[in-house]
Symmetry: C2
Subunit: 367 residues, 2 copies
């Protein structure tokens, strides 16, 4: 908490550039040590500037979650982009435009989508989206016949080339303990290895990765490329799930105090659902939307686990904490709070401010 | 559901202009019939264009939730703006700038904030934020001595004038039934009337209103001005709470289908947490993030209560529905879905598309 730090006025998303670069370097090193490529997902940071930091770590290909995001990063000079979302026919014009100037890969999980891809003007790669148990999108890994059917339909599309399999084992986010995480990971690795074997005449590669698995697992046999995204910034969700240390979280929200209510041990900050998002977690049985963290100059390592955002309305954040904490808080003070889910908070905040005061825009902020 | 409506590509926020104008007209009529002024909150629609529709209904003063929003609407020509958020000292520069060109009102709930308001360059009005039971911000209505203390501190601030009381009885959103709603409303009316009496030498007025109370209550004795916001668009939250009809909801999301999974009776649309927000509700014990609605041309009245968004990740929406529904869905189709909370969805979507195809920007979209 900072007294009257007037330089920060509305809720501000602070970024520790050093931590962010360390996170990128660590994951790049982990992939390289295993002979894996890293094609990080940019849906978390959503910023061409942070994209440059990735490039400085030797990264040459990226993953995005929409054509809109692909257009933004292509304009920033990226030449090898995977749009990791099942192809929607309405995106055909974007795909044509993008594939004219960059190597674009898409995901497919059903033959019907290929009907729209028959007359591509430029080469486009595709990966088969494989579901190893998450249950969101993808062909279940146990259905190679469906893969065969999709490949057959795709073979009728000029300029469309099968490159391999893509698996986002997002159920890793819901695993209750290390054992469950390991089971999810081992199944995904086994499924991908088997599919690569069954379709070996295509020489397919396997793309894999959500942040939990890429952060905590060591053995990635079955995968060739890692595609995590959140690790660049991390957040409270990753920390509380044991996927990073509190000190690795590279973003926090700085919010001014608007009201102090000692009787109910609550403070109201300017910082609501339009800043944090309404993503929540349960901690000790309590629904929380963020946790306070101590900041001393450039450092913010001391998580204040008892000081929590316990409610959010549109612009208001209700922060509940211990009596001794609330006694020290005044209207106009700044609270520093870790967001639950950095991807959503970044989307809402639209720009970062580094600890050095530099503004870093995202794709949501027009120049 | 529309087959291959290629004109809509990414998730789009559709606005029925007629319904929106009807909602504005209905609330304006309700206030006028009771001799009350209407100072609608603009935090839901966040658009200068919709602000103009308000002006066409005879509305001359508005409410906003941040200085940033006040700056946006002042630039759009509004001359009487209440910033309905307890004054944060870091906003002083904005307040100075705004009050030079418009009549600005702020909220206060603690004497300490007045320390920053001693040397205002231009007249600023303030209302005492009163808590009648919501427990978010405000002086508890039962503590007139705290009001007295605040007024005393404020009297030392040149250019700062007390105008009355402001009450947002937001606990109306959590009321379980009509009786609970009535109890909340009657207490607020009684509290405001009593405070106006106790401080009658100031000739204070009372500002009141959240959308639930302003929509369903009839007797507003105790209040002078109504300040609801959500009623302009309404949403699923208001409908399921009985505060509007399904036909009065003036916005919906149009999302293209990216994947169809008949075995689990689910469809994945492009439309996730960065479009809808993660606001959820429980319906029949199930957590939902939106409900499907039938659209025939300009009409969208037929709520499909069994077809629900049951999961959201960043860009993916998982829609679960009955077997006969899923049999008719193809990749590339458009689904129409009511959002849970229009305020948050508007903030994320940044612009509307009317049924006539006109783009309507919000404050989040730079020109």
């Amino acid at each position: 908490m900072h007294r009257r730090s007037i330089e920060i006025h509305p809720p501000t998303l602070l970024l520790d550039r050093e931590k962010c670069m360390q996170n990128i370097g660590k994951m790049a090193g982990k992939a390289a040590a295993r002979g894996l490529a890293l094609r990080p997902h940019c849906k978390t940071h959503q910023s061409a500037v942070i994209g440059e930091w990735m490039r400085e770590s030797g990264i040459g290909s990226i993953t995005v979650s929409s054509f809109r995001m692909a257009i933004y990063f292509a304009a920033a000079g990226w030449k090898d982009i995977l749009v990791a979302f099942p192809f929607v026919p309405t995106g055909l014009c974007d795909l044509e435009e993008l594939s004219a100037k960059a190597r674009i890969s898409i995901l497919l999980d059903h033959p019907s989508a290929t009907a729209f891809l028959k007359k591509l003007s430029h080469p486009v790669d595709f990966y088969v989206d494989v579901d190893t148990g998450y249950g969101r999108t993808g062909i279940p890994a146990e259905e190679p016949a469906s893969v065969e059917e999709l490949l057959k339909a795709a073979s009728l599309c000029k300029n469309l080339t099968f490159r391999g399999f893509y698996c986002h084992a997002g159920h890793s986010y819901h695993a209750q303990n290390r054992e469950e995480k390991d089971v999810i990971h081992r199944k995904a690795m086994k499924d991908l290895a088997r599919l690569k074997g069954e379709f070996s005449h295509y020489q397919p590669i396997a793309l894999y990765g959500d942040t939990p698995n890429c952060s905590i697992q060591e053995d990635f046999q079955g995968a060739d490329v890692l595609t995590p995204g959140n690790f660049v910034l991390y957040d409270l969700m990753q920390f509380l799930a044991g996927n990073c240390s509190a000190g690795e979280i590279a973003v926090l929200m700085a919010c001014p105090v608007a009201g102090v209510y000692p009787a109910r041990r609550q403070v109201v900050v300017h910082g609501g659902a339009v800043h944090f998002s309404k993503e929540s977690m349960r901690l000790d049985g309590q629904e929380i939307f963020g946790l306070a963290v101590g900041r001393e100059g450039r450092q913010w390592d001391a998580l204040q686990g008892q000081t929590r955002i316990t409610g959010l309305s549109q612009e208001h954040g209700i922060v509940s904490g211990p009596e001794e904490w609330i006694r020290g808080i005044r209207i106009g003070d700044l609270l520093h709070l870790y967001p639950i889910h950095s991807c959503l908070t970044v989307s809402l905040m639209k720009e970062y401010r580094t600890l050095e005061g530099e503004r870093i825009p995202t794709m949501h902020l027009k120049a």
